[in-house]
Amino acid sequence: MLCRQQVADLAVQEPEFAARNADLIVIGNGVSQHLQPFREATGYRGQLYTDPTLAVYKILDLKSGLSGLLGMKTFQQGFKAFRKGVSQDGIQGSALQLGGALVLGPGDTIHYVYRSREAGDHPPVDQMLAACEIS
């Protein structure tokens, strides 16, 4: 539910990334067959990929485990998504895995790194957009 809301919000912001000459790319961790239903549920039309082995998440040291699911933000964001009518049809991917964000490039240049501390702790889009403007 929280991930659907997060990506539905990103779908609205996608033109802002394009206006900054940045590609918005969403990566999850279920199997490939989960991508199309997720796209339909969120309205996100941009680049969407999956890392079913979680290798990328591990390299980035993105948090995983039960402790990340029990914070106040998890409940706040879950309630917010529920009020917006966002539903969840089970978990497609790792239920214990948390997310994050990067703004990179061109080349091996790092502009922004964000690691979620708990479910519902999403990378602030305004910070990502600001990182896209760094020359």
């Binding site: 590609d23 999850g28 490939s32 991508l35 990328v56 991917g93 703004v103 922004y112």
Partner: protein, 44 residues
């Protein structure tokens, strides 16, 4: 930034899959463009 360059280079060697199971090399996303990448918890 809280990401070492060697970690970034290791990340760049990994592949992700699209909806058809096609592989895409991570480093190609930021080779000649700025890439804003969001890693979601799951597809639920």
């Amino acid at each position: 930034m809280d990401l070492e360059i060697d970690v970034l280079q290791e990340l760049g060697k990994k592949d992700v899959l699209d909806a058809h199971g096609r592989r895409f090399r991570m480093a190609d996303f930021w080779l000649d463009r700025r890439a804003a990448m969001v890693f979601v918890r799951h597809f639920g």
